[in-house]
């Protein structure tokens, strides 16, 4: 989580305040909730009084017919109070929840939007799991705050405060005894909830560890079997499992000792009230009805006092979750439209790199590109070749502005990519990456991902170009076939071809193939290349590859080493040059140890 935000303890209050502000965006619901809470508390506190009164009336404090009438009156009031209490408890709970859900809805959208807009450099350094935690668990913590935090404070405040006042003003000693369980239970419950929360987080971690052991075992089951590693695996499993089980047992102990202690302290207070109250009744200082009132009061207060722990928990959770969530929402977006940025206007379709320097934000000391300059015109194909890590893929990332250059500039028809709108830029530049993400939906939707309004014909044609159409129509459900997790699993080469089709749908002015045919077999690649040729006349094509056959037909080939262009020219020129390109060519055409040494 360290990457998402550095949490500071002092920020807790500000965070809670901010949640309250968000909550207040639904003032009516908040007001209804709070009003319901107050009315519900008043009615709730009225019940013991009415019951005590009824007991006294039954004991014949009044006489004859008057007593029966009084009983009827009390009964009617009690019925109305009970119904009222039910209704207001309902509105309190419902609107309390509703406020939370409305807030969660707004936060969900904000998180989603933020995720979509944060630049690559942010996503590079953050684990997807951390983002999922923010978007799911942290959001829950914030959502629950109104119903389990704010609302409960009001509820408990009134119930305990007014209840205590009512009891103590009736009989100070008995009131104190009746509440004597409260401080201990409140303290115990808060402490336990905090401990349980901490151990819960720890337990989740252990269970995650356990599920990782299982997941790897099942995913790598062939390795496990091949090396007869079952016993070894079970040992790993038992270690992880035993640790989690021990902690689960400890949690049971913590919980049980706390609930049992809270229970008995409440019952002890009740016993004391009964005893002292009984003495008072015997001494004639108090009626049985008043004693009954005290005892009922206690049963009403028991739950809220025990829930103090949940309240503390809710505050703790809301403040840590809120901290993380807000820190995420407040993040600066590095790559965004300049104020007043205009859409890219493509006339000639010339791409230029001018003295470009670049280092990834995660490792600013390591220059990945240094002084790279080249130009590609409409209809041209530029090949870029080099060792892994030489910086060739980085070139692909700079054109659609996945990252911003550190020095120099990248232009399309003279417009610096940083001066045009991101949307227009990315519609014009398509980068076909080696690792493509397929969405769990049908093939058609995947191909039309960048142009969801496209007509079927165009989708079919794009996949024909990518040499995928025949395969797709051979599937039982054709373009409707679901890919991914639970659908048909495509081979690496098929995924790459789908990716190519998807990029073609954009009608890009600049098309970059970033090692995007690595898993496609040579024959199919040849056919894709032929199909592309006609397509290439209207745009600039960049081909980044380590397979020379993919790019030797290019108009210009750049050999990149350590972030700089060390050789450039056509295939023939570079072969004649007899340099690094030549060495790589020899290595690929007649592999052997000598060639490797020469290339090194």
């Amino acid at each position: 989580m360290s990457h998402v935000v550095a949490t500071q303890a002092g920020k807790g209050l500000t965070t809670l305040w901010r949640i309250m502000v968000l909550t207040w965006r639904h003032p009516w619901m908040v007001i209804i909730t709070l009003a319901s809470t107050i009315i519900m508390c008043v009615l709730q506190l009225w019940v013991p009084r009415l019951l005590g009164q009824a007991v006294d009336q039954a004991e014949g404090v009044l006489d004859g017919a008057g007593a029966v009438d009084a009983l009827w009156t009390t009964a009617w009031i009690l019925l109305v109070v009970s119904i009222g209490r039910g209704i207001f408890t309902m509105t309190m709970n419902y609107f309390g929840e509703a406020v939370g859900h409305h807030t969660a809805y707004e936060l969900r959208l904000a998180v989603y939007e933020k995720i979509q807009r944060l630049s690559f450099s942010y996503h590079d350094k953050v684990h997807t799991g951390d983002l999922i935690t923010v978007g799911m668990l942290d959001l829950e913590g914030v959502r629950m705050f109104f119903a389990t935090g704010v609302l409960r404070v009001v509820l408990l405040g009134i119930l305990i405060g007014v209840g205590a006042y009512m009891m103590m003003s009736t009989d100070l000693l008995l009131g104190c005894l009746a509440l004597s369980f409260a401080p201990f239970v409140a303290w115990n419950s808060s402490k336990t909830q905090l401990t349980l929360r901490a151990t819960w987080l720890k337990l989740q971690e252990m269970l995650q560890n356990l599920s990782r052991v299982m997941e790897e075992n099942l995913g790598g089951i062939r390795v496990v079997r091949a090396f007869a590693g079952q016993d070894h695996e079970l040992k790993k499993y038992d270690e992880a499992s035993d640790a989690a089980l021990a902690l689960a047992h400890r949690r049971v102990d913590i919980r049980v000792s706390s609930t049992s202690l809270m229970n008995i302290s409440f019952l002890l207070s009740m016993g004391l009230v009964l005893w002292v109250g009984g003495e008072k009744v015997l001494a004639g200082e108090m009626t049985v009805g008043t004693l009954a009132t005290f005892l009922t009061f206690m049963t009403i207060l028991q739950m809220p006092v025990r829930q103090l722990g949940l309240l503390v928990n809710s505050f703790a959770r809301a403040s840590t979750c809120g901290n993380r969530l807000f820190a995420f929402l407040d993040l600066d977006i590095e790559i965004k439209d300049k104020p007043g940025a205009k859409p890219l206007v493509v006339t000639e379709g010339t791409v230029r790199f001018e003295n470009v320097d670049f280092a990834y934000p995660s490792a600013p000391a390591r220059k990945v590109l240094q002084g790279v300059s080249f130009e590609g015109k409409k209809g041209e194909t530029i090949g870029i070749v080099g060792r892994p890590g030489s910086g060739k893929s980085t070139i692909a990332h700079l054109i659609p502005r996945f990252y911003d250059v550190d020095g120099g500039k990248v232009t399309i028809d003279g417009q610096d990519v940083r001066d045009v709108t991101l949307g227009s830029l990315r519609q014009s530049v398509a980068v076909v990456q080696q690792d493509s993400f397929l969405f769990t939906t049908n093939i058609e939707n995947n191909i039309a991902y960048g142009d969801p309004w496209a007509k079927e014909g165009r989708i079919a044609r794009a996949s024909e170009f990518a040499q995928l159409h025949n395969y797709i129509i051979g599937l039982p459900t054709g373009y409707e076939t679901i890919v991914g997790e639970r659908g048909v699993s495509l081979s690496g080469g098929q995924r790459q071809r789908l990716n190519i089709a998807r990029s073609l749908m954009l009608r890009p002015s600049v098309m970059v193939f970033d090692d995007s045919t690595a898993a496609v077999d040579a024959g199919t690649e040849q056919r894709i290349r032929t199909a592309m040729k006609r397509f290439a006349k209207d745009r600039v094509t960049l081909i980044i590859s380590h397979r020379l056959s993919s790019l030797m037909h290019a108009d210009q080939i750049l050999f990149i080493e350590d972030g700089a262009i060390v050789e450039r020219g056509t295939h023939e020129e570079l072969l004649a040059l007899g340099g690094r390109y030549r060495a790589l060519y020899d290595l690929q055409v007649k592999p052997g140890d000598d060639a490797l040494e020469a290339a090194e």
Partner: protein, 632 residues
Amino acid sequence: MTDVTVNDDESEDRRQRPPRAVVGSSLDREEEVFGKAYDPRIVRRIWAFVKPYQKQIYISVAAVLVFTLTQLALPLIIRFAIDAGMAAGGGGRVVLLWAMVGFAITIAFNFVASWIQESVVGKAAENVLFDMRRAMFEHLQRVSLSWMDKTEVGRLMSRLMGDVNSMQEFLETSVLSVGDIVLLFGIVGVLLWLDPLLGLVTMATMPVLFIVRLFWLPPAKVSFMAAHHTNSSANGALAEGINGVRTVQSLDRQKVNFDLYEEKARANLRAHLRAAKFAQVMVPIVDTLTGISMATVIVLGGQMVLGHQVEVGVMVAFLFYIQRFFDPIRSLTMQYSVFQRAMSSGTRITEVLDVPVNIEDKPDAVALTGQMDGSVEFKNVTFGYRKNQPVLKNVSFRVNPGETVAIVGPTGSGKSSCMSLVHRFYDVWDGSVTVGGTDVRDVTQDSLGEQVAMVLQEPFLFTGTVIENIRYNKQSATREQVIDAAKAVGAHDFIMSLADGYDTKLEQRGGNLSLGQRQLISFARALVADAKILVLDEATANIDSYTEMLIQRALKRLLEGRTGLVIAHRLATIRGADRIIVLQNGELLESGNHEQLMKKQGLYAKLYTMNYSSFDDMPENGDEAPPTGKAT
């Protein structure tokens, strides 16, 4: 074929039809929406896991009973204190004191019983869960690979974690629901005993609540499930947005996705509000019924007290019981849903436990030792994964000790199946596979694993350090041996350049290494295993030429002094082999060394002269047939 870029979309109607777009998975979850009804078979299977903790269950049921009885007793003691102690003409202080003694004893029992019931049940439930999970995991270590191939890891994981967890709720609450039933009957009994007439009238509301809940439960459950589903659907879309963020941004899809996501989020909001309505609508109903019961006690009971038909303490006790009255009904109706959920989880758990284990050691299986000669022989092997669809047809060949044989052939020719059979991942339909002259079905699987090392096409690394991955199952290997192996396959240099050298922690599946590097580590692992026979499936992925060379060198070193069976994709590997076997459509087409096969002018020669970089590239029919199962 016209150019893709021709604008054939009538732009004016573009935005009027809905986009072909979804966010999040468009597939439904496999999980059943409404649990399962009672199934005695499943219950028996679950009981088998509970049985070892029988004693604990009895103890906690006893504790629950004691606990419930003390709860029932408390209002009675209060009643006794009032009627026998405080009332006019009562026993006064002495009786009150006795009442207090009774109260103290009762709460002492209450304390102990509550401690025991929760602690014993809670721990036993955890134990049962962990036992179940382990039984499933252990079973999965033995089930056939063909079953594993068909089953997604994610699904299994949801059974191992999700379903086991949903049993927890059931196990913990089922003992407690015994208490609820006792409490319910106890209250009914006590009220009738205190005063039959008043009891009956007061309890008239109880069946009303019961009936109301019966009508309420089904639609309420639907709304709760809907809330749950829209939640996972919105979360699924969020997860997809996170994982696919680069694609989303590079294809400029943010706007469309946001709109789609908003729909999901709104559906989620609506479902939750609806569920909240259902949950809360019960509150005023219960409160009204409680109010009616209390009002009845006041009017009827009050008049009875006035008429001296009952004592005032009875009325107080009634008022106390009424407040507890509806709790057991509520938890019992809830318990039914918990039970249904547990039944469907139980079904899925037993499904896993019931997957047959087809490949087991024979009772008289012998251990394969390092003394055997290291030959591998296929004799008339016929084998397949699906009935009547053999993948290998009557294939025979022999690999002599120390020889390297390359198997080549187009995708689907049955190469990978050969490899799996040497390791007895599956049993042949007909014929036999022998290792060192012994049929693989007659040796123990463990010893086979020790003598036959395997390198898979997709190198699989575990979370852990580099050294742990290389050593894997060979715990006896010293650090020196591991380092020697890494040096031999040319992995030492890059390992040393990692942050902590051999002790560098690998991320999940070795994510912080390149494919080539992972390959080299898996070579080192095979070298450390030091088996007589090496079976290797060469990677098809196009690795850059430099790494490729390193791998070729490592391969040479790895095969030295071993019998090698290599599923080859690279010309370099094939030419280095002693013999080449060409498979096509599950049949052995030709075999011999490079020169012999070239002379033969068969498939091999054809593929070779076309200068394809890989033997998987079939000329002419470039479009693959749709996948019809796991062929190779």
